[in-house]
Symmetry: C2
Subunit: 206 residues, 2 copies
């Protein structure tokens, strides 16, 4: 790897970490370069603006998360088991983040949605695409479960959006209270939202 | 009203509007004073810092919202009817905001939670208190409904938190897509989360 792309990666890594910790607006390019250990000139060689950097951070984070979600949701097993695994993976990721930096950083996409979506149209559009894709991936699993008669859902798109909304809402609480146990109820709530017929097999949420 | 408290109100009104539009970190004291039409010296007469101002904005917004929520949730009518009314009031408020400023601004408390809770401990604590109070108000109604045999809930606190989480998640989507119709499903989802026995009386979510 040449020096140039190494500097680009350092900027991206520092930016993602700083955005997760402190949001987007609070950051300056100088601070990002300092954390990355690269001169400011390098920044503008790779990114034409802070917004362009943020879009790249979003894209790279989504590329990684989409791989994880695809591995879980399009993998083997019954559809509802795969959906349950998605919540387990989400909780594990939030717990790992909390252990590494002391606080639950929440969902990068949710954070940027509430901070920025009314200020930066390019970022809003990208976040819309990502949430649409997430909802689509969850919807495919719900449709499979419906075909198996395991859930009672009139509108699979709406149901998938409600499942993702519940996830975002509980991640918000996990971040606010710096407590990942708020995510424990996600599976029981998902089954309730889907009118799932296997609810009795699931332990009651504590 | 004397000139002094008038200036304070102008600062608060401008700050709330700017924070709703653009978040907290993106704002400077000079910009807030300019929007309020008051000299910067007045700002520091009333508020010792931008954070102190944000806490006052949060407190005033919550005082007003708590009055609304209390009026709805502690009012007359069956408990689930009052809970339904809470979602109608929320949707109406988001729609009114969209009509007045062109975009759905979302929930001030949710916005500040995802933007700030890991940066400003005083703000985090205040937001925790507010969401705890909201959950408590919803919990009281759920407990009433449970006593009437209308919902099937093992843990009223957890159920109330899930209802508020679903609200925050769908408001996030309403803001991201600048579309209040995302809030239409809140009532059906609330009933599903509560295992409500009157689901069949409710029209299916469109």
């Amino acid at each position: 790897m040449g020096r140039s792309s190494d500097a680009r990666n350092k900027i991206l890594t520092a930016a993602q970490s700083l955005i997760e910790l402190r949001g987007y607006s609070a950051l300056g390019v100088a601070e990002i370069c300092k954390a990355a250990g690269v001169p400011k000139g390098s920044f503008y060689y790779f990114f034409e603006s802070k917004e362009a950097l943020a879009l790249t951070v979003i894209d790279e984070h989504w590329a990684a998360q989409r791989r994880d979600w695809t591995g879980v949701l399009a993998g083997d097993g019954k559809p509802l088991e795969r959906l349950r695994r998605l919540f387990e993976v989400t909780e594990a990721a939030q717990r790992a983040g909390q252990q590494s930096c002391g606080t639950v950083s929440g969902c990068l996409f949710g954070n940027l949605t509430l901070e920025l979506s009314n200020q930066a149209e390019a970022i809003r559009v990208r976040l819309q695409e990502i949430f649409d894709a997430q909802v689509g991936m969850v919807e495919a699993v719900i449709a499979e479960a419906r075909d198996r008669g395991e859930v009672d859902v009139a509108n699979t798109r709406e149901a998938a959006r409600s499942v993702v909304a519940q996830l975002e809402g509980q991640v918000l609480f996990a971040k606010l209270f710096n407590n990942t146990s708020h995510l424990d109820v996600l599976w029981a709530n998902c089954l309730a939202l889907l009118g799932a017929r296997i609810r009795q097999e699931v332990p009651a949420a504590s």
